[in-house]
Subunit: 165 residues, 3 copies
């Protein structure tokens, strides 16, 4: 890692080169953000699976079976939709926050660990919320992990750019 | 700095210069992402139009007409809100995915076609969902188009950055 | 185009260097985007506060008190959730729009003022919607401010990249 660090401090001098494949922090961000994007999109498909399993459709044109009426508020469907909404509330701001955090040229080891922990925490969040509900505080802990990491990155960026208020 | 500039104009290729107006792939992304941002924001206005047309307001302070009460679950308003939520679920992750896909320096023709097809598909999705509902599978096809394109980009980025797991 | 390129390379170094800490416009964006990310995440915590204050929980595993049942549609909780959803509908597209607006090398003073006004407007929006509801049109004005700023940025970017349609 020290080789990487010295290497990057040598050639990454120009702060304009943060968002390139030559920056290992950015590559780590790319990989784990991609994992989270795929995870989020799979929530749409999981919702669709639940809708077909329980035959709960919210639109007239979606009634693929006979003798069905539009229906809302099915607990099995709504649980997945709440998990999906929670993803949007937390992961989407995290995407931006961690992206702009990279521009402050953070320590490579710290940044990569934050990306990994936050991403794995959200995968756990989905498992214990939407796939196989388990008792609290498992979901709260998974939720808090990414939240605190995002707050930490926000603090780093805000302190670094406070003079541009 | 001039060294960096001449270097980048030489290869374009220098992965540091992906996010500039000199990169036609990035310019194509800029244009079509802007179109989708405007489309998404217009959903807010379309919701407002439906609320005023059917006099359905969810907050006490929004009751602009006499003898009204707060009301939810109007099918005309909720249809637009479902379409809007579906936009957030799909277009916002796509924005990040396609942005970071550019950093892998993809083939320009392929990337631009993907941006155009995905964007037009979501415009069609809005038309057949919220503006003028038509029978399925029109909406499913429009939905699947952007979803599959986002998955393709995710596969490209993940394979390229797998070693940074 | 070559005129534009030479112009930008003259004053702001090279167009490839927009997204660096050497660009004051980007730094201003970093600061205010961070403020908005934190504001959005605090909506999650505000929702949690309301859920505990009124003992309204949507999941079986969240029933932290005896003799409770899952419950939805509490007006105090739903008001915060509507404000939070409105944030996602407006601030998340704004994050992307203002980020890519920076790549067009806008006038620094104009761009920074837009970032500041839009961000303060959304903080006011949250205060008058979720924290202490006040009569309209306070919320509509706060909402319209960021919306119009985002539309303005969209117009700038679209005109600049129209040839890449």
């Amino acid at each position: 890692m020290s080789a990487t660090a010295s290497n990057s401090s040598k050639m990454m001098t120009s702060p304009g080169d943060m968002f390139t494949l030559e920056n290992p922090v950015f590559c780590c961000y790319l990989f784990w953000s991609t994992v989270l994007v795929v995870k989020m999109l799979l929530m749409s498909l999981l919702t669709a699976v639940q809708r077909f399993r329980y035959k709960i459709f919210p639109n007239q044109e979606d009634l693929f079976f006979k003798n069905l009426e539009v229906q809302f508020d099915d607990p099995n469907v709504e649980r997945v939709r709440r998990a999906h909404r929670n993803d949007m509330e937390n992961i989407l701001p995290y995407f931006l926050m961690s992206l702009i955090y990279i521009s402050t040229n953070p320590n490579a080891d710290v940044a990569c660990i934050l990306f990994r922990v936050a991403s794995v925490a959200r995968i756990i969040h989905t498992l214990v919320y939407a796939v196989y509900p388990v008792p609290q505080p498992s979901r709260i802990l998974a939720f808090a992990t990414m939240l605190l990491i995002t707050f930490y990155m926000a603090a780093v960026v805000a302190l670094r750019t406070l003079s541009f208020i």
